[in-house]
């Protein structure tokens, strides 16, 4: 991703169509009236985050993780599975031993 200049970043605002796009990706159904509220709220959040751009990060390596840890491994050993009744206990719908979902393709 290109790093935005401060000016570009300030111009960047969330539009209604972006809110609709994100809602679609998250499978959220938004009421028309709510869209304006989210546009404003998201723009406020972005504006707040702009403050971070004031920091000089020239010599800071990008953070991939907040913990100062790496290389946490497990050995290749098989453990317990959970019984299929429990696996399907929270399934909204099931058939035989399968989760049943609306057809996607």
């Amino acid at each position: 991703m290109d790093i935005m200049t401060e000016k570009e970043a300030q111009k960047q605002v969330i539009t209604t169509s972006q809110v609709e796009h994100v809602a679609l990706l998250a499978r959220l159904e938004l009421k028309e009236a709510k869209k304006d509220i989210y546009v404003n709220q998201l723009n406020d959040i972005l504006a707040y985050m702009q403050m971070l751009n004031e920091l000089d990060t020239e010599n800071v390596t990008p953070t991939a993780h907040v913990l100062p840890l790496c290389n946490v491994f497990r050995q290749d050993e098989v453990g317990q599975h959970i019984p299929v009744e429990k696996v399907l206990a929270n399934a909204p719908e099931k058939e035989e031993q399968f989760f049943k979902v609306p057809r996607i393709v």
């Binding site: 990706l25 913990l67 790496c70 946490v72 599975h81 399968f98 996607i104």
Partner: protein, 480 residues
């Protein structure tokens, strides 16, 4: 004038790793199993669980990357690929985005004696998805059924550069990749069980043009044959579209094996926006150089190296050496046989000839070969000693293959020992000469073919058991 088009193909290959447990949890990776029985809270994506990476899966990925001449990243991390499709219970797949385990490698393919180096963009590690089952067909089924047994099986993605120039090259690349992976033992590469899968990016451009044409992505090719057919079809289709002044649409197309065509899937992938971000549940990888070197040192001799060695040390042809080294089990069989009968060229002829023919005929893999390399070696020794003729040996060999018996036993049981007793043969030779006076006259008049005929008659009279060299000598002596 109709322009000449150049085909440009890149392959994206997915390989399931042969670990015992899944990539981020200790559920089994065993293929099959009753639906949703190989699962645990981690691979079901239940709230509050934490994935932890299987060290073996990382080792296997590094092993593959080294065999493919890749660099190994010092620092690597996992990312979430977000999407709404029920094949993952979490609505995201843990994959790698900008910092794969291994960038920049290559492998060599050989077609019609030409060697070409195909670039490998990256090798990365991710989790496999679950399986959707559709009652009836995928397009008419009213709903989908989900089995998460496969979700979380370690999956390695190997992406090639767009360096392949024909469907044949694409097939050769996939075959080579499979051979290498089988040699290094990180996957069983069974296309029919989905442990080796392949998608292709295809485009065409006017010959000589540098800029790539618009590409399509082809999915659902489930065998080497369908890969080649699907690509050939797609290349033709694109050339036809362009020839009619049309435009190629960048889209995903599915190969339909029964109809022999690719079909657009574009309506189904609306809003592809994976919103990758670093996986917060997994800590990054800082790959230890010493470990990498240990893995490198443990790599076996790879197909190309074996082939070169067979040509150099055994004087085999490139063709024979390539055939023997394509599968490591075949190469091991060959080498074991050479150990018991140290005449590599003869061994190679028998393995690439009669043995391969019988294996193909009965659809048996070399792993399940009913005869041992030592038994073949023993047969070849018997030919060399003159106990049986080369012709009889073929019969003995078939019998060995079908019954798994030792050659000596078959020769005894069937009374196939070669007649090398001069006294016994002289009688038969005399008879044949008497019966074929006209042919004998031809021979004396200088017709070489006449001798071959007479040898054939003696062989017939002895039901193939006469020592042919001896028969030749005796006939010549008698007709002088």
């Amino acid at each position: 004038m109709v322009p000449e088009y150049e085909t440009v193909i890149g392959l994206e290959v997915h390989v399931e790793l042969k670990t015992n447990s899944k990539i981020f949890c200790n559920s089994t990776t065993a293929f099959g199993g009753e639906p949703n029985t190989h699962v645990c809270p981690v691979c079901l994506g239940l709230p509050g669980v934490l994935p932890v990476i299987n060290k073996k899966a990382l080792e296997y990925t590094i092993r593959t990357a080294l065999a493919l001449n890749c660099e190994i990243a010092g620092f690597s991390k996992f990312d979430r690929k977000n999407y709404y499709y029920p094949d993952m219970p979490k609505n995201y797949q843990i994959s790698q985005y900008d910092l794969p385990i291994a960038p920049k490698g290559h492998l060599n393919i050989e077609l019609d004696g030409n060697i070409r180096r195909i670039g490998i963009t990256r090798v990365h590690l991710e989790e496999d998805t679950g399986k959707l089952v559709h009652p009836g067909t995928i397009t008419t089924s009213p709903y989908s059924l989900v089995d998460y047994n496969r979700a979380g099986v370690p999956l390695m993605e190997i992406v090639s550069e767009p360096d392949l120039r024909s469907p044949e090259e694409a097939k050769a690349y996939l075959e080579k990749l499979k051979a290498i992976i089988l040699y290094i033992g990180v996957s069983d590469c069974k296309m029919e069980e989905g442990s080796l899968r392949c998608d292709a990016n295809v485009s065409v451009r006017v010959q000589g043009k540098e800029e790539y044409g618009t590409k399509t992505e082809i999915k659902n090719m489930n065998s080497f044959k369908s890969l080649q057919r699907a690509l050939a079809y797609e290349v033709e289709r694109q050339i036809e579209v362009l020839g009619n002044k049309g435009r190629i649409i960048q889209e995903t197309r599915a190969w339909d094996e029964s109809k022999g065509i690719t079909l657009s899937m574009r309506s189904k992938e609306e809003a592809h926006d994976y919103r990758y971000f670093p996986e917060p549940d997994l800590v990054p990888l800082v790959i230890d150089r010493k470990w990498v070197e240990e893995i490198r040192a443990s790599l076996p001799e790879l197909p190309d190296e074996r082939k070169t060695r067979y040509q150099r040390d055994y004087g085999l042809s490139a063709y024979d050496a390539a055939r023997l080294s394509a599968e490591f089990e075949m190469a091991d069989f060959f080498e074991a046989c050479v150990k018991s009968y140290p005449q590599p060229k003869i061994v190679s002829n028998w393995i690439n000839g009669d043995l391969s023919r019988l294996l193909n005929l009965h659809n048996i893999n070399i792993v399940a070969c009913p005869l041992t390399p030592q038994q073949l070696g023993a047969l070849l020794k018997l030919i060399e000693k003159g106990t049986i003729s080369g012709k009889i040996a073929k019969t003995v060999f078939e019998e060995m293959f079908n019954k798994g018996k030792d050659p000596e036993q078959i020769i005894q049981e069937k009374g196939l020992v070669q007649i090398s007793d001069e006294d016994a043969l002289v009688k038969i030779v005399d008879e044949i000469i008497t019966q074929n006076q006209k042919v004998v006259a031809d021979y004396r008049a200088g017709k070489d073919r006449a001798l071959a005929f007479l040898v054939g008659q003696v062989m017939k009279a002895t039901r193939g058991k006469a020592n042919p060299e001896l028969v030749n000598r005796l006939l010549k002596e008698k007709m002088q």
